[in-house]
């Protein structure tokens, strides 16, 4: 029920907190109560505008908020208590920082009079989170509550998005003040968008029109900037090949003939060869991280590099950009479109370059052979893709299954691929699927995981039951921490130290004990039926335990520190 707000009336900090969320348009908060946030929970309990989702571990709350933010246009919101509530949230916060996910995490804090006294459940949350947040605040006066919360959402969602932590001591939630939510804030020290230099656009356009061997290397920044449509139209007009980073998948249709697949350590042969041989590299919202570049001095040795990014510190951090374009990706692509497409200027004929790429494509570097006995993990992803027509939301954990999902599920739309790229957080898959399902209640959400990763946040199966989330868990169970085992096979003479998953639970019974449906699938011929049956269960979570080939490896692979043209293919 909305009430009219009297500006002079005084409210407690906890009331103001809830009113701020409402005013910000937040209808969902993921969290876990505790002593320091009890006043806030009491206020949440009294109203119906902001729903609270009770997770089973604070890490799950943050990953859920990330999934929510990544699969929608809204920021994710988390509420946890002080001390262990905050420290449990750290992994998720660091994850959101690495992958530029807009979330706001509210942490309770001990009373201001107790701060610094080693009080019960006290931790220096602002200090601990400082290196892994875009920004953080502590509210030390109730009169600053509304403005600080507005700033937190503003900072989290603008420029290069990221997590913002707001630490709230308990007494501040008792103190009273008027409620006035600012409609907008400005901060003299924070100017998230720069005007794009026309000169750099001009120079970029000139190079785009004169190159012979171009590649568009597009990352998560395209998705964050909601620029997939613009990028796709621009690339289609130019007929340039497009590769995506792990975070960028879906920003250009994965089934388009111009798509040369993902690049990097487990990228396609054609993408990495094209990166190596190109004469013009157009990096769009990507940050040249080490899993992409491999050996820096052998990276795209003959290419001119155009780098479009909203974060100036991403430019020339690892790889020197010849033509930096600092600014919002969408605005930059629109700028280039004006200079090329609207003037009907045509780039060079690059048929010869496409011939090269098509030759590389023939290697079919993501290929695998499905026999009749043992299920190949890639086959499960392939079937999932075919059955869902590439239209599902796919979250993943971290490891081999993540790479196979990235390679083989051809995402046609942005915001459908939800995974932990930068931090590589095992345990991300299930809670982020919850957030994704909350943001997209009528869509199919599948969590592609492995038997090792899924156990890291398995407790969230209970949350899924409480809120009736019909997630489909695709567990590629090879009884190994697959990626660890793969590295041990390649680089440690098959000494499989601690990578065998002994004493695994019976996942079917485990799912059932949480009130869900579980299937175990051991034969390739049963894969389709299991996926189809799971999808039919529209209102139930289904956990499908696929027993897969134990020693399958992810190929191609560029070993750490090797050049792009030095790929291990099989």
């Amino acid at each position: 029920m909305k009430q009219t707000i009297d500006n002079k009336q005084k409210y407690t900090g906890a009331e103001i907190f809830v009113k701020c969320l409402e005013a910000e348009g937040i209808d969902l908060v993921f969290g876990y109560p505790g002593g320091a946030v009890l006043h806030i929970y009491d206020e949440l309990h009294k109203q119906n505008d902001v729903s609270h989702i009770l997770v089973r571990h604070e890490q799950g709350a943050v990953h859920a908020a990330e999934g929510y933010a990544k699969s929608s246009d809204k920021p994710g919101v988390v509420l946890v208590t002080s001390g262990p509530g905050a420290t449990n949230a750290i992994t998720g916060i660091a994850d959101a920082y690495m992958d530029s996910v807009p979330i706001v995490v509210f942490t309770g804090q001990v009373r201001t009079a107790l701060i610094g006294n080693d009080a019960f459940q006290e931790v220096d949350t602002v200090g601990i989170t400082r290196p892994c947040v875009k920004h953080n605040f502590m509210i030390t006066d109730v009169s600053k509550m509304a403005e600080t919360i507005k700033k937190a959402f503003y900072v989290a969602t603008t420029g290069r998005p990221g997590p913002v932590v707001v630490d709230i001591p308990k007494d501040i939630t008792e103190d009273k003040y008027e409620f006035n939510y600012p409609s907008k804030v400005s901060m003299r020290s924070y100017n998230p968008y720069t005007d794009i230099s026309d000169e750099s656009l001009e120079l970029a356009a000139k190079n785009i029109l004169s190159c012979k061997k171009p590649v568009i290397y597009a990352g998560g920044g395209v998705i964050n900037s909601n620029a997939s449509k613009e990028l796709t139209e621009f690339a289609k007009y130019l007929n340039f090949p497009v590769t995506n980073t792990l975070m960028g998948l879906g920003c250009f249709p994965g089934n388009d003939p111009q798509f040369i697949q993902m690049l990097g350590m487990h990228g396609s042969y054609e993408a990495n060869m094209a990166m190596h041989d190109c004469d013009l590299l157009i990096a769009v919202g990507a940050r040249f991280d080490d899993r992409i570049t491999g050996r820096l001095d052998k990276f795209s040795p003959d290419a001119k590099i155009i780098h479009i990014d909203v974060d100036p510190s991403s430019i020339s951090k690892n790889i020197k950009a010849h033509i930096p374009i600092i600014g919002d990706v969408k605005a930059a692509i629109n700028g280039l479109t004006k200079k090329i497409v609207e003037k009907k200027l045509k780039p060079n004929n690059i048929d010869e370059w496409w011939n090269n790429i098509n030759e590389w494509r023939k290697k079919d570097s993501f290929r695998y052979k499905q026999g009749s006995e043992i299920i190949k993990p890639q086959y499960v992803i392939d079937r999932l893709y075919e059955i869902t027509k590439g239209d599902a939301f796919i979250t993943s954990d971290v490891g081999q299954h993540q790479m196979w999902a990235a390679q083989l599920y051809k995402f046609k739309k942005p915001k459908r691929w939800i995974n932990s790229g930068g931090l590589g957080t095992m345990g991300f898959g299930l809670p982020s699927a919850m957030g994704t399902q909350f943001a997209n209640p009528n869509s199919l959400v599948c969590c592609v995981t492995g038997e090792a990763s899924i156990q890291m946040c398995i407790q969230e199966l209970s949350t899924c039951l409480q809120y009736g989330l019909p997630i489909k868990i695709i567990n590629l169970n090879n009884r190994y921490m697959g990626m660890v085992r793969q590295w041990q096979e390649f680089f440690y003479e098959k000494r499989y130290a601690m990578s065998y998953m002994d004493a695994l639970p019976n996942f079917v019974k485990l799912a059932e004990s949480f009130g869900h449906i579980g299937y175990k699938v051991e034969k390739p011929s049963d894969v389709d039926a299991a996926i189809l049956e799971a999808i039919k269960q529209k209102d139930r979570l289904v956990f499908i335990d696929f027993i897969t080939d134990q020693e399958e490896n992810v190929f191609p692979m560029i070993a750490t520190g090797a050049a792009h043209n030095k790929m291990i293919l099989s």
């Binding site: 200090g127 290196p131 875009k134 920004h135 502590m138 901060m187 020290s189 100036p312 020339s316």
Partner: protein
């Protein structure tokens, strides 16, 4: 190469640790750091002396600029500038020759403070290079040296 970076930042609690943390987290060198109020009472000015090649300095400036509390960053060594440090040297009376004392009292950058013990304190305000020279000359007789970080300002 040695660089001086001048940073104007919001006078918020924790702002200093954001800057110091950034340097350690990204393995940037930090030779000295000084921070004090600026002309704007809601902002502090920090002077950081660091070293690195041009790429590293570019990253330092960009990363500092990215901190939400930072209002303005400038690298001041690339242009004309004035740089000063302060050093205090405590010396036993008996270790100083009359000659030396005369020299010190004639130097306009030095100030001599007496104490109520058998020591004197020499205060030196000068460029880091001159301070180095001065400290070299008194190294053998110094009981205690207290030295500040640099502050600097563009002079064109």
């Amino acid at each position: 190469m040695r660089h001086i970076i001048s940073v104007l930042l919001e006078n918020e609690s924790g702002a200093l640790s954001r800057v110091a943390g950034l340097f350690s987290a990204r393995s940037f060198n930090i030779e000295s750091l000084s921070v004090a109020p600026s002309e704007d009472e809601s902002a502090s000015r920090m002077t950081i002396v660091t070293s690195g090649n041009d790429d590293v300095i570019e990253q330092i400036v960009k990363q500092l600029d990215k901190l939400v509390d930072v209002i303005e960053v400038s690298e001041i060594t690339s242009d004309e500038h004035i740089e000063r440090e302060i050093a205090f040297v405590k010396i036993k009376d008996k270790s100083i020759s009359k000659e030396m004392m005369d020299k010190f009292s004639k130097n306009e950058f030095l100030k001599i403070h007496t104490t109520n013990s058998d020591e004197i304190i020499i205060e030196c305000v000068d460029s880091p290079e001159k301070i180095n020279n001065f400290l070299d000359s008194v190294k053998k007789i110094a009981v205690k040296i207290v030295r500040s970080g640099s502050v600097g300002i563009n002079s064109n």
